[in-house]
Symmetry: C2
Subunit: 115 residues, 2 copies
DNA sequence: CCAATTGTACGATGACCTTCGTAGTTTGAC
DNA sequence: GTCAAACTACGAAGGTCATCGTACAATTGG
């Protein structure tokens, strides 16, 4: 069996991803932190929610991951008790070439400037 | 006289512009429409608020222009009874190279796709 | 001065957003 | 089966947001 777990999550199709939703998802510092973390991980299956230390409660963490997933910025799959998160880089790059990279670069630049 | 009108508006300095605020400002369809309009105008003093037909009331229009100005995306100056709006392209490009262009390109791509 | 044009200020409203705590579910390990 | 780990669901509180209408202010043109 290919272990088709019953627990699956709704993701927008590539063509359903909306620019406004992506920008909104990225406009929160906490979510931008998550995206930065996942971007540094590079290609792969991603990281568990708990791998990213956010300064908020678990339920708030869940909320932010959900916003990112529903906007199409990340994908989430269950893996045992954990939930693995990965950037949907190829979808984003195909839809909006250069957008994710310039946001990440902008974030890096701002961090370097602001300290 | 260089007609230094008493009416001036607060703009964030270049170094005060925050990425999160810019992304949030751009995540609204109406404001994105304004930015697209101003970008097509190219360099110059910009356009009056009334030059951009938005499908909302005047007070809502004022609100959106204010959000864009306070985020540092546009500059506004009074010119007679009108208020001229211009993209702060050089500031944005200096702070976040490529960001504005990739957002505008993404918007164009989405419009072409969605129709 | 008078009127028209252009945009502002204010208050209100309903929607959405971030955050939390608590209680529950699913899975893996023993 | 039992227990811990990881995450979710739900409901609530407090804040912000987009929108409007109405009343007001500043400038230009007659």
């Amino acid at each position: 069996m290919s272990t088709a777990s019953a627990r699956t999550l709704d993701h927008p199709e590539r063509t359903e991803i909306r620019l406004e939703a992506v920008l909104h998802a990225l406009s929160d510092p906490m979510r931008l932190q998550v995206v930065r973390f996942l971007a540094e991980l590079g290609e792969g299956e991603g990281a568990a929610c708990s791998a990213i230390e956010l300064a908020v409660s678990k339920s708030t963490t869940t909320h932010h991951f959900r916003v990112l997933r529903e906007a199409g910025v990340i994908s989430q799959v269950y893996r045992g008790t954990a939930k693995m998160n990965a950037l949907r880089r190829s979808d984003l790059d195909a839809l909006f070439p250069g957008l994710l990279d310039s946001v990440l670069d902008a974030d890096t630049a701002q961090r370097r400037r602001t300290g």
